[in-house]
Structure formats: C-alpha cells, structure tokens
Symmetry: C2
Subunit: 310 residues, 2 copies
C-alpha cells in the first residue's frame, strides 16, 4: 500500500498525465492544453500553505494565483480570453482579505487584457485554483518538444530575483526591493504572442519550476542536449547581492529556484532577425546540441545542469 | 471586522460576482460563462468534507467532481470539449484511491464525449476543482433570464432521488438502490444540446441547488412568477418511499435538497412541438406568470416555494 505522501510530486503528476489526452495531442507535458478549435487552457493550484511567503499581501496572493496560469498560456503564445477562479477559503479569514484576493486576481486579469468570467467559492484551508483561457488566433502553439541542434537558447529577462527575495525573507539581507518579482510575477503575454508570431521559436516553456528543471524538461522532451554559457546568463542584481551576502553560489540562485516567470525558449538561429524585429527583449544564453546532456560552461569548465528543487 | 464564516455563502458569492465580467455579459448569474467566440466554461470545487457521502467510492467521487461542472455547461446547451482537473489531495491517501479518483473523472469525461486535457496536483485536504469547457457550435446559450409569462416550466426527469439517498444513508431505510443518482449524477449533455437546438427553450439551469432554489432563481432573474402543480411533478420512487418511511413531507424531498442533476427549463408553449420532435424526455410541471411569486398548487391550496437549504 502506497500513500500519496510516499510518492514524489513528479510520480503523482506522471500518474495523472496518463489520463490526459487531447484531440491535438497537445497538453500532457506542455504548459497548457491546446484544443483543435484554438482554445488554450491551463489550471493551477496555489495555497496559503505553499505560496504565501512572509510579507506578501492578500492582493498580491490573488495576483500570483492568476499570474501562474496566465504564464502557462503565455508560454504557448496564446492571447488570454478569460479566467475562472475557484476559492476555498477558511472561515476565519477576514472578509476584507477575501475581497483583496479577488481584487488581486482581477488586477492580474486586467493586466493580461481579460477578466474573471466565472468561479466558485467553498469553505477550505486557503486554496485557489485558477484556470486561464486563451486563443491561438491562428498562431502555432510553442511546445516543449521542438528544440533542434544548433537552435539558440534564450530567456526573456534576468533570473534569480525570486531566489534573492526568498533569501531576503529568510535572512533579512536588506534587499526588500527584490521582493516584487516574487510577490507580483508578470506573465509574459505580449512576449509569448510576439515569439509565436515571429515563426522563429522552436520550443518554449515558462520558468516557474526554475531554469535547471526547464532546460532539462525541454531537452528531455526534444531529445536534445544543451550548453549554457554562464557569462551570457542575465543575472538579477539582487541575486548577485544575495549570493555575495550569504556566500551561496550564484549558480544555485539562478538554476535551482522556481517562482521565475520569465520564458525560456529556443529559436532557429537563421531566423533570429525575425525576433529582433519584434522588439522583444531577450537574451541568448546557449545552444541546443545532440549530446543528450545539459551542461553549463563556467570558467572554462563543463558542469551538469540538474533539475532544480521544484 | 467580518470573518468569511460570518457571511453566508450567498453573500460571499455575490461579492465574488461583482468581479465577474464577460465580453458577452453571460457568466455572472448563469451556470457557466459563454465567451464571444462560443467557448463555454464552468469551474466547481468539490471536497472530501462536503461532497463525499458515506458509501461513495473514490471512483464515484471522481465522477461526481467532473459531473457537476459538465452539468453546468449542459444547462447552457454546450457540447463538452475538455476538462481540467486540479487535485489537492492529502498525503495519507492511498495511491490507489488517488488513481481511482482520476479514473472516475476520466470516465465521466468519456461519458460526456470528451477527455481530461490538463490539470494540477498539490498536497491538500481533499479538494478537487474541475473546469469543464465546451462549445456552443452556433446554438444560442440558454440563460436564467429568459422566462416569460405563459411559458411552460419543465424538468428533464424525476426529482427527489438524491434526497432519498441521503435519508437512506442517515436512517438505513433499505433503499440502497436510491444511491446511484446521488453518487453518479448524469450530466444532461444530450438533453441540453437538444433543448438549445429546438429554439423553444427560453431559460434553463441545472437543479444542483434543488428545485426550490432553481425556481426562485429563474423567476428572480427573469422578473417573473411561477406556479407549479404538485400532481405534475415527476417523483422519484425512492423519494416517495423515504417520505413514507420517515414521515417526512415529500415536498421537502423534492424542493429543498440539492445534488439533483436534472435540468429545469422554461419553454414557449407555442413551440412545444419542437421539443417533442427532439425525443427529449421532459415533464411539464407548471407555468410562468407575471405575479413575481413562486407558488406550489397542492390539494387545491397555494403555498410559497422557498429557496432550498443549498
């Protein structure tokens, strides 16, 4: 007899995935499902227990609950069309706090160009399940399976900010300004749409589970390898400071921590000018190869990139 | 300072609804949201705490979790296109039971002609949030606002079965066969589609909150009144027995209890032959009027129909 607690989360998710089947075969293994009619959908659970770090407000928690699902549809290249919010909230929560959560969800929806279209409320321990809907509008969805040798690997912005914020919360490093990217992650909607429109992007996923996990996932699903150049990685300034102040390897902050909401993507190097034309901000961090290994080149040495702790 | 526990559920939902806005203005107040592109979506929370009566299996609980959301899109007249399942399950749950829940969800999706397209799993107290997606395929969605005086009021099947099952669980009445309709509710998908296609239906909602609440809701939102004829009401045979065995008024079993998944609808009486042409099973139970009151005619007397306890 095996208990759910004895399975790691990946096992449970794998079991779950065996039930997932979409008409178009997009869904299991990708950030969001894409139906043959062009509807894109993703659902995510966030909880007071696991996703409510010290210092976060209820409004920010609401924003966060919506942002994680919008980030999933952003990484497919979808335009948001609606959000459903299911709130299981404790009875001893102040009414104002419940209202603040809803307001935070609403603000994130508005940022993403859409609104709350439905929901449910029940008593519970503080669990919000958000479902973001979107449309491809004729764009081809960006999957995790399309990375090919010689593609460039890119990210849409600096990494390590959420890790710095978590360290600041734990150790009081005086880096309060790092907290915003943890509390109020920005779904990269416009970026995802531009990327999908460019026709240059071969694979994409969001960095909510961290760079190490995302790189290994894309390489695993694309049957490819990757080398990432340390010097090319855009580094959040607070991550650099937190690393120095705590004597923690910066590598750990950049690769192992989730809660990042930049997008990781690969692109055909011969079509890079199409990406430059979009005025998308992005940073090339390495190359896809056929080695099957994911490696970081730092100070002339190669090291294996591992799945992060998320 | 007001706590969530001091608000009744309706207040919390009303507060929540103030944030809901859809392009097409369909959503708040209806069973499901309908986007301008014809996508229909509904999300529902079910929990071990509140929706797992004695004798129910994990597989049935999974079915139930999916059925409640499919019922919502059925009542709009939508064809299901996918289901997202977010599972917050306790660590001490046996793995087999988690698998059974997923299997039950999967079976209900298959019954509804679709499949699980995505989901999420996190630790939690046993809360499943399901999101059903569907398409209108050009049909006009059936709302709660369209009932007009002289429309007939109809239901798609006998009522009181779930109430009988709950009484059997509580008092051991020997009515085990009543349990299926409580444990394995059937979303009225084909019925909803036929009804929407007929062009005769003026309003519709599912009976998940019970007949009393549904009648008052449709009348409230349509600014109308209703009279229901006791003799016309189709009565589940176990409800009749449970009423006799426990000396509980049958009226209470038919009007006050939720967990029914038949559809309540109103139809233009001049277009009834269109409904007969669909071979839809339905029962006329009364008429809409302009009195603003919802009344039951029983034994020659008129009594007010109240919101049920759901």
């Amino acid at each position: 007899m095996t208990l759910v607690s004895e399975m790691n989360e990946r096992e449970l998710i794998e079991d779950f995935r065996s039930f997932i089947h979409t008409e178009g075969k997009i869904g299991p293994g990708d950030d969001a499902a894409v139906l043959s009619d062009g509807t894109v959908a993703s659902t995510d659970i966030v909880s007071f227990d696991r996703h409510f770090p010290a210092g976060m407000t209820y409004e920010q928690f609401g924003w966060y609950a919506a942002a994680v699902s919008f980030s999933d549809i952003a990484s497919m290249g979808a335009r948001p069309t609606g959000f459903l919010a299911a709130l299981a909230l404790p009875g001893n929560l102040e009414k104002q706090n419940a209202y603040d959560i809803m307001s935070g969800i609403d603000q994130c929806c508005e940022y993403c160009g859409t609104g709350i279209i439905g929901g449910d409320t029940k008593p519970g321990p503080g669990i919000i399940t958000g479902t973001a809907l979107g449309r491809m509008d004729g764009r081809k969805p960006m999957l995790r399976t399309g990375a090919r040798p010689d593609d460039v690997i890119c990210v849409t912005g600096p990494l390590g900010g959420p890790a710095a914020a978590l360290m600041d919360i734990e150790y009081g490093l005086g880096l309060e300004q790092s907290r915003d990217c943890l509390y109020v992650p920005i779904p990269r909607i416009a970026e995802g749409i531009s990327m999908a429109e460019s026709g240059a992007v071969t694979s994409c996923m969001d960095l909510s589970d961290g760079l190490g996990t995302a790189l290994n996932t894309i390489c695993g699903q694309s049957h490819a390898g990757a080398t990432v150049e340390w010097d090319f990685l855009p580094k959040n300034e607070y991550a650099v400071k937190a690393s120095e102040l705590t004597d923690t390897p910066l590598e750990q902050l950049l690769f192992d921590c989730g809660g990042e909401y930049e997008l990781l993507f690969t692109a055909d190097k011969n079509k890079l000018e199409r990406l430059y034309d979009t005025e998308l901000e992005f940073h090339v961090i390495g190359m896809i190869n056929d080695s099957g290994r994911t490696e970081l080149i730092k100070d002339g040495e190669r090291r294996k990139i591992r799945y992060g702790r998320y």
